[in-house]
Amino acid sequence: MSSSSQRPQARPARISPSRSTPSSPPSTNTTAAANSSSSVTVDADASVTIPLSAPRSTSSPTNAVARSPSPRQQDDDEKRCWICYTSAADSDQPKERSEWKSPCKCSLVAHESCLLDWIADVQLNRRESGSQRRLECPQCKTPIRLKEKDSAVLDFVDSVSQLAGNAGAFVAFGGLASVIFVSATVYGVNTIYTICGPEFAEQILLNRETNQFLWSWRTGVGLPLIPVVLVASRTRIFDSVLPVLPVIFFAQSDPLHFTLPPSPQITLALLPYLRSFYNHLWGKYISPYEQRWLREVTPRHKLESEARRARERAVRRNRDWDALRQRDNAQRNNQNQRQQQQAVQEEDGVIVEEREWGGELLVDNHNVIIQGNNLTTLVLGALLWPSVARLAGQGIGKWPSQWGGDKIRKWLPSLLARNLVGGLLVVVMKDFISLYCKYKRAQKFRSRTVMNYSEVMKLAQHASKARRATRNSNTNGNAAR
């Protein structure tokens, strides 16, 4: 009751809605009916129960505002605890009841012991259910402040455990990410050992002086990147970045110092360049044939729709240019400026739409799909490449001497060189085999004719006759035996 100066301002705001509730529905907002009805009841609580228990009470602000003109006459005996509902005047009031507290700016007063009991209960609920219910006066929603001995340790532990609870999702995500990171790194190390062989791998991975594993940012980022780069190298999305990456991560020391049998780092760093060179050659000399054969086996309607899309795209591009030109004109022609600009704006609107639409078309023309691969085979193929290269390298290493195996081994002395050449050979062979298949399929399509039914019947008769003949000869043979 110490803050009586604040009360007169706070009271009308709270009490006026509760006064109006009995005559009108508590809330027109039906979507929050449960909530609104509950908040109304708090008001009703003040307006119904407090006047009842203390009809002449002046300590109750409800009465003070609504009925009594003199809110000053405060009678301690008429105070009533909003928690235990006993008033100071009650005869059964035990003496051990603690002092009265008014923790907020509204009329509610309570025994300190009741308040503490309630607060303990709320806090227990909060800890158990993790609900974020604030400690506030149920009527005026003023936060209830406590004076208590601070314990830095307790606060710290509480906030940490709360953080841990909130961070569950992040921790789970982090766990998943670290699992992916670790497996990618292990795959990277494994790949280096597979491709380079133990000695070169150790040269790459281990510190030269201490001969221990060197965990630097290069290995930390580079090793888990290996599977990513392998997969990316199957598409052309990262063509601009790919050649730079290995130089950063593998050329640890003086990359310009070039020895004639190139160091393993340099060799690996040159691989992407080799790949682009190979892709370039393939695109220039072989792709035209490949495309022609592919087109031969594609149904006509698909070709036609593709051609139509290409034409539309070209038209759109032209129109873009037209629009740009028109805009230039508009800026130049001062007489018709306004009209022209309007026209350009309209055109711009149309073009923007079409550009977006065209973007979608471009996506399904993406080279991933042109290559005819689906995602799984692409990823698997990329990740299996090192092992296949290793197998091919071993094959080269065990090539019989009479077929020039000795000469090959002299040319490719190290396991790394043999593995790399083996891997490259595998890639080239794979490409050419698939090219050959395309050619053969195109040939097959070209030679295709549809058989007439009479031809089919004739063939079937031939076949059955032949079958009967063989069966007869078999039975004859058995009988003879």
């Binding site: 009916a33 009842l52 235990c84």
Partner: protein
């Protein structure tokens, strides 16, 4: 029979005397089932005016938890009531006040029952316990809703039928 804590029983006795001093309009009766046991109460709710519930009387069973008034009382409709937020079989009431999330000791049995009475007039079909009547209401068929409520009130809650 379980006995309530001294603080709870003192407050409950207070509430009972308060109720007997002045009876609020939404309640016909409110008292312990047995005078010696303050943990089990019964109340009779009057159907609120200007709603299809008007004229009906519903019995509500009230169980007082040990830590009352820190925890809300358990209230269940004994008389069947047709309402989206009341379970048609068990009588369970879907009201945030009774679930403890919005409960504070400032509420009494009487004011809590007033909330229940207001819930009758303001159904919340988006968190239904009675799916069928909630669907009727959600389709905006107020006539059918009112008729169903009235039929249940006549059948169970002692409401006088208009034609009989």
């Amino acid at each position: 029979m379980s006995t309530s804590t001294p603080a709870a029983s003192r407050r409950l006795i207070k509430e009972l005397t308060d109720f007997n001093k002045k009876r609020p309009s939404h309640l016909i009766s409110l008292h312990p089932v047995d005078e010696s046991d303050l943990t089990h109460w019964t109340a009779t709710l009057r159907g609120p005016q200007d709603t299809p519930y008007e004229g009906g009387e519903w019995e509500i069973d009230i169980k007082i938890p040990d830590n009352y008034p820190n925890a809300p009382p358990l209230m269940v409709f004994v008389t069947p009531v047709c309402h989206p937020n009341v379970h048609p079989k068990t009588g369970e009431i879907c009201l945030d006040l009774l679930r403890g999330t919005a409960w504070t000791p400032a509420y009494t049995l009487s004011t809590t029952l007033e909330s229940v009475s207001q819930l009758l007039g303001h159904p919340e079909p988006d968190s239904p316990l009675n799916v069928d009547i909630a669907a009727v209401l959600r389709h905006g068929d107020r006539v059918a809703y009112d008729a169903l409520v009235r039929v249940w009130a006549v059948m169970y809650a002692g409401k006088k039928g208009t034609t009989a």
